[in-house]
């Protein structure tokens, strides 16, 4: 029952919309449902990146703490986004804080579990690469624009 619903939740998410049944079954085995109260910390800079969060509902702020001032929000993520990319790349440590701005519902995938399945089924790894990379690219492109500080002068 639990496995089945995780699979459905994943299938509903834009990141997984092109995945076939078999692959979703594999991934669902690594997943669990999570809920975060408004204001709570989802993960923290420096934490081991042992999970990746598939956001189903709510807003997540990616924050970088600075001494003597409130943390700076560099990006907000919402329904349809994925939070926590550090699970993919060594040394598997989170590089920013993620905080629930509203109540947040997500499916978390256990990073060790997914990495293990990718090692066993290279095709799964390739599929994740193909469908997730465009999302990452979009975020990098958006952050480039953000860097330009376009509205500064006008």
């Amino acid at each position: 029952m639990e496995l089945h619903s995780i699979k459905d939740l994943l299938a509903d998410h834009p990141v997984f919309k092109d995945f076939d049944e078999e692959t979703l079954d594999l991934l669902a085995g690594c997943g669990r449902n999570e809920h975060f109260a408004k204001g709570s910390l989802i993960y923290k800079e420096g934490d081991e990146a042992d999970k990746v969060y598939i956001i189903r509902r709510g807003d997540v702020a990616i924050e970088i703490a600075a001494p003597g001032r409130p943390a700076i929000v560099v990006e907000t993520l919402n329904q349809g986004d994925v939070a926590g990319w550090s699970w993919l790349v060594p040394p598997y440590r989170s590089s920013a804080d993620a905080r629930a701005v509203t109540e947040v519902s997500a499916v978390s995938l256990d990073a060790n579990c997914v990495r293990g399945k990718c090692d066993d089924h290279p095709a799964l790894g390739y599929q994740i690469f193909k469908t997730w990379l465009p999302h990452l690219t979009k975020r990098v492109r958006a952050q480039r624009l953000q860097l330009l500080d376009l509205y500064g002068a006008g």
Binding site: E63, E75, Q79, V101, D149, L150, Y151, G152, G154
Partner: protein
């Protein structure tokens, strides 16, 4: 042409400042009433040349509601000599006005569609009249949305009106900033990150978009919209170039074959999209 009696289009009409509002640190909005003759009707997206006595003229977009032509509304950011003088004007002061000039946002033609406004920074000023027009006929559009991006929560123009549009006027409003401190509960990220969501379940082929903001922001926004399926012929942008006359005489605002002053400032994206990517044109 009767040259002897024709009105010289370089000579301004005198207006007087009725009210001034401090919008942001370096941005003011003022309403103007004509001293010489009746108010001149305008369309949303057009601009005036505003003259500050002894200092000079600047092209400033009209931010008022075309349904209320009696009062000219202009929002000015202090970025140069003329705009500094304009932002120093107070109620009762006189200034010169030439206009209205240029092409307008074709709001009426988009009825039946999801009308999306994408504003960046002060780019909301030239869109304001068009938003008012669309919301006045809200039910004739499938949806009216405003996606508004600014540098930080302190740089949001027309803050209370934007909130009111969302809360009471039937607009679907999303505000996003480039940078915020913890405590800001809105979005952080450039406007392009929110396009997919604000389009929602609308058929992209039935969406019309007016974009106004820095040129790079308009370029990327229009590109992303076409990737999402919005036809390039349903996207309009508002361009900015140096202008001295607003009549097509001074040559400064040329952008490829177009004079931004009279062929623009509002251009349809399918007609100029390629040009947006050409450097230093």
């Amino acid at each position: 042409m009767d040259a002897a009696n024709a009105q010289d289009p370089m000579v301004p009409h005198r207006y007087r400042v009725a009210e001034v509002w401090e919008e942001l640190d370096d941005v003011t909005t003022m309403s103007l009433l004509p001293v010489d003759g009746p108010p001149r009707p305008f369309k949303a997206g057009q601009f005036n040349m505003l003259y500050a006595y002894g200092v000079g003229e600047a092209a400033i977009s009209i931010s008022g509601d075309p349904a209320v032509p009696e009062r000219l509304i202009h929002t000015t950011r202090n970025v140069g000599r003329v705009s500094a003088a304009l932002t120093r004007l107070r109620a009762g002061d006189m200034l010169g006005v030439r206009g209205p000039f240029g092409s307008d946002w074709p709001v009426e033609d988009q009825k039946g569609r999801h009308m999306l406004f994408v504003a960046g920074g002060l780019g909301l000023a030239p869109l304001r009249g068009a938003v008012c027009q669309a919301l006045a006929n809200r039910l004739e559009y499938e949806e009216v949305s405003l996606l508004f991006g600014a540098r930080s929560p302190d740089d949001l123009l027309y803050r209370s009106q934007v909130a009111e549009w969302g809360a009471f006027s039937g607009a679907n409003v999303e505000v996003t900033v480039d940078m915020a401190a913890r405590g800001w509960t809105g979005h952080v990220g450039v406007v392009t990150t929110r396009l997919e969501r604000i389009l929602g379940t609308s058929d992209p082929a039935n969406v019309s978009v007016f974009i106004c903001g820095p040129e790079i922001m308009m370029r990327f926004t229009a590109q992303d919209l076409t990737e999402l399926g919005v036809p390039a012929s349903r996207i309009w942008v508002s361009m900015e170039r140096n202008m001295k006359c607003a009549l097509g005489f001074c040559g400064h605002c040329q952008w490829g074959p177009d004079f931004v002053c009279k062929d623009g400032p509002v251009f349809r994206y399918d007609q100029i999209g390629k040009r947006l990517a050409i450097r230093e044109i």
